[in-house]
């Protein structure tokens, strides 16, 4: 009988490197009104923001922990530092960024990406933005891409006030409330009416500090007839204590506007990723979510789209790869709340090495959404019998003239497929990787080439660690 292959640790050295916290400003662990006031005071915020933070903390203390997803018993807020500021201020050229931090982002390829194909970059390190820049040609068209705290004090202060946590409210769930209380850093993007961005903007989030939380807030407003592609990336070194990411992303998509929001999530495997993302789409607007989830110990991630305007639409294309020690609960939510709206969801899930992967979705078709279409497809691949893969799709249809379709499948790599590849001289490991890459192709083909390569590398990384 063949010996059962043993699981070895995945080599994640590309992402798993730590930097000293010397000179950092770290608030004490835990969550108290004093800490919340201190964060607000350090940022010199307007009073309405402080009140929002304090109210959010109250709500956080009242709301229960979710009882339907992965356990978060290993996360103890009394051991999380909610604010860790690196020893630098935000810069707009890489040469001014402190050497250690610059080295981090260079190793992750962010400055090179900016030079090659991005219209602007924001880089957050722990609780604060350390770098933000936008191409002059884009800025001249009226596009704003800045730190959200910076925008809070500038000419867009009123716009921030009118949109900030209006789409994701602190009442939504416990970790939206937590975010409201201790958010720090993040980006503000404003694309004026009719402006089409030729190149994407990117934000990259790096959490270096041990036992810390990152709570960045991204607010994007794409005005009528405008077009934007926004890319979000994230990573962290691995520690033996819990880290927490509870960011929030609020997207406002105007009439006939288009927004593509792409994410490659690669947090370290001690991370609790409890992120919230939401888009509100006006008449004829379109939002496209492209999501690759590879990291984290526990993930709760369900980008939500509210199709508020007639003929608005959304697509969600996602892949989730859960390896050893991971429990990733991902999917999406869509509310169709206007006539002639449509939602198209296609996801792939892969689980391996004892990992748990769950696809969870909610499609709500309100009585207003007559003549609307919903299609949800999820396919899950089990790579061994130690892992687990669940699909929990929910549909709530309250309109008559609609078409709602749903398909789900779970299975393993077909023997015939492996036989075909191996009979052509491809080793088993490589053949498996090829099949998994092909399985995830619907997502990678939606990404810019460089990110598709990164995603395929992440899959290879996970697959290479599978057996020895």
């Amino acid at each position: 009988m063949a010996e059962k292959p043993t699981i070895k640790e995945v080599d994640r050295s590309l992402y798993d490197f730590k930097k000293s916290e010397k000179g950092y400003d770290r608030l004490e662990e835990g969550l108290t009104p004093e800490i919340v006031r201190e964060i607000s005071a350090r940022k010199n915020e307007p009073d309405w923001m402080l009140q929002l933070r304090l109210k959010s903390l109250e709500i956080y203390n009242e709301l229960p922990v979710p009882n339907w997803g992965p356990s978060i018993e290993g996360l103890d807020m009394d051991h999380i530092s909610t604010y860790v500021r690196p020893n630098t201020k935000q810069k707009s050229d890489w040469n001014s960024v402190p050497e250690e931090i610059k080295d981090t982002f260079e190793r992750l390829g962010i400055p090179q990406a900016e030079r090659s194909y991005l219209a602007g970059v924001g880089a957050q390190y722990d609780s604060e933005l350390v770098y933000h820049n936008i191409q002059q040609s884009v800025a001249k068209e009226g596009v704003v891409y800045s730190g959200i705290e910076e925008a809070l004090h500038g000419p867009y202060a009123e716009m921030i006030h009118d949109h900030f946590m209006k789409l994701i409210t602190p009442h939504d769930h416990k970790f939206a409330a937590l975010h409201g209380a201790v958010w720090s850093g993040g980006s503000f993007v404003y694309v004026p009416k009719g402006v089409h961005m030729s190149f994407p903007l990117q934000s990259y989030f790096r959490l270096n500090a041990r036992g810390a939380g990152q709570f960045e807030h991204t607010l994007i407003i794409v005005e009528d007839d405008a077009d934007l592609h926004f890319i979000e990336g994230c990573s962290a070194p691995k520690y033996n204590v819990a880290n927490l990411h509870a960011g929030a992303v609020e997207l406002f998509v105007g009439k006939n506007a288009h927004l593509r929001y792409s994410t490659i999530e690669n947090w370290s495997k001690n991370m609790y990723n409890l992120n919230t993302k939401r888009a509100l789409v006006d008449e004829g607007g379109q939002v496209e979510w492209v999501s690759g989830s590879f990291g984290s110990h526990v993930g709760y991630l369900y980008p939500m789209t509210i199709l508020q305007g007639e003929h608005s639409s959304c697509t969600f294309t996602g892949v989730t790869f859960a390896g050893a020690t991971q429990n990733l609960d991902t999917g999406c939510k869509v509310v169709l709340n206007a006539p002639h709206t449509s939602a198209h969801v296609e996801t792939k899930g892969i689980s391996k090495g004892g990992g748990i992967q769950t696809f969870r979705s909610s499609m709500v078709v309100t009585p207003k959404a007559e003549d609307s279409d919903v299609y949800v497809s999820c396919a899950n691949l089990m790579l061994d019998d130690e892992s687990r893969s669940d699909t929990v799709p929910a549909m709530d249809v309250q309109a008559q003239h609609v078409n709602v379709g749903h398909e789900a499948s779970i299975g393993r790599i077909g023997d015939d497929m492996m036989f075909y590849l191996m009979s052509r001289g491809i080793p088993e490991q490589e053949a498996s990787t090829m099949v998994v890459n092909g399985f995830a192709n619907p997502v990678s083909k939606e990404l810019p080439l460089e990110y598709a390569v990164e995603m395929n590398n992440l899959i290879k990384l996970e697959m290479d660690g599978s057996a020895s």
């Binding site: 969870r360 669940d390 929910a394 309250q398 749903h406």
Partner: protein, 420 residues
């Protein structure tokens, strides 16, 4: 929240795991059959967002004001060992001894050493139905016996009464049996009815569970089924619901045996302001088990339906295949359809798939029928009428056929044999 320094050595537990642990530890609920009752039921194995209100349902049942004596009757086929027991209905004498009364529990203890047997509607619903059972029949089908007639169970709901039939069946190896329950409301009024059906299908046996519900829209109904299969056994479930203000149906089948299988065929028509609430749980524990669930229904007027349908491909069940399919036709602006079709998979060498189609009459069907002179309203009536026709075609015995026609006249304005 406790701080777990070992949290990185294994994945965090799933809600379905925690739920199962909590259920195993929960004490058995108790109900007073003469009192008003309110309880949760139809909780699926894998819960989801609470705000969707799909994780369970709540039923409130008024205290009975009548005893419903004689409203449950059994017609037991020849060739089986059977005992009838008046539980709350003492108008008829018991016909079985204690050994027969305990036959199901004895067989369960042997067939289910891991205590995985469950009822689809959950512990509270089971306890309420046990407390409210009017009459119970226990049937043991001897090895290789194939009764030529079905076990017929008639439940005639009565005004103010709780009318509940309990059926325990042990199908010995190689045997077969059809159980047919018909829940009807021949007299006007409002009350609650229900069935509690437990089945052990030993190796290579074949048990068909057919349930028909034709209650007026003033009644509540609660059907609760649990079944367990041995090697090569097959369970065939068909449930047709045409009425009731609230219709709850929980069905759990534990496929323990190698190559055992289960088919579920759920048909319904929602009309008036009726609510239909389902929970199907198919646990595929044995290797090479097969399941297929097909739910097909029409929602009209202001009716609502919630279908939870879970295939659980359990670790060790190599080669298992589970399939779900759902079609829902919506014929009114005021209906509401909720679906939660889950596939849980803890094994790699399995196949699970699901497909759903929810909406209006599809354009091809509509165009075809409109070219033949039918209006859209007539087409929708046709689908509602088809639900009754299907029920009539599958009704066993004249009494059940009459029950379908009785309700058809009220809902459609004509019997199943007449043109609209």
């Amino acid at each position: 929240m406790s701080y777990d320094t070992d949290f990185m050595s294994h994945p965090a537990t799933t809600a379905s795991y925690r739920d199962a642990q909590a259920r195993a530890k929960a004490p058995k609920p108790q109900f007073d059959a003469s009192a008003q009752a309110e309880f949760l039921l139809n909780r699926p194995p894998a819960p989801t967002w609470n705000r969707l209100k799909m994780n369970d349902s709540v039923v409130a049942i008024d205290a009975p004001t009548a005893d419903g004596a004689g409203c449950v009757t059994f017609d037991v086929p020849e060739g089986v060992l059977a005992g009838q027991f008046g539980v709350r209905d003492t108008s008829i004498e018991n016909t079985g001894d204690q050994t027969l009364a305990d036959a199901f529990d004895a067989a369960l203890a042997q067939a289910d050493p891991e205590h995985t047997f469950e009822m689809g509607a959950g512990a509270d619903a089971t306890a309420w139905l046990e407390a409210s059972t009017s009459r119970k029949v226990v049937v043991v089908v001897p090895e290789d016996a194939h009764p030529s007639k079905p076990l017929l169970v008639n439940i005639d709901a009565a005004d103010g009464a709780h009318t509940v039939a309990a059926v325990d069946v042990v199908a010995k190896p190689g045997s077969s049996l059809t159980i047919f329950t018909c829940t009807n409301s021949p007299s006007a009024g409002a009350g609650a009815a229900g069935t509690l059906v437990r089945v052990i299908a030993d190796a290579h046996s074949n048990v068909a569970i057919r349930q028909l519900q034709t209650l007026d829209s003033t009644y509540q109904n609660l059907d609760n089924v649990g079944a367990l299969t041995g090697d090569g056994a097959h369970i065939d479930v068909q449930q047709i619901a045409l009425g009731a203000r609230q219709h709850f149906d929980g069905t759990a089948v534990d496929l323990l045996g190698l190559r055992s299988s289960c088919n579920v065929d759920a048909r319904y028509l929602g009309h008036d302001e009726n609510e239909l609430d389902y929970n199907y749980v198919l646990r595929q524990r044995g290797a090479k088990t097969h399941t297929y669930t097909f739910a097909n229904g029409v929602l009209a007027d202001k009716s609502q339906k919630l279908l939870r349908d879970t295939i659980d491909l359990i670790h060790g069940g190599k080669g298992a295949v589970g399939r779900e399919k759902e079609n829902v036709l919506l014929t009114s602006d005021d209906v509401r359809n909720k679906s939660l079709p889950a596939i849980l998979c803890d094994e790699d060498d399995v196949q699970g798939d699901h497909g759903a189609s929810i909406g209006h009459v599809n354009p091809e069907q509509r165009d075809y029928m409109q070219t033949r002179g039918l209006t859209l309203e007539q087409i929708e009536d046709l689908f509602e009428s088809a639900a009754f026709d299907y029920a009539a075609d599958h009704a066993i015995g004249q009494r059940a056929h009459d029950a379908v026609d009785r309700l058809a006249v009220k809902v459609l304005g004509h019997t199943t044999n007449e043109e609209a």
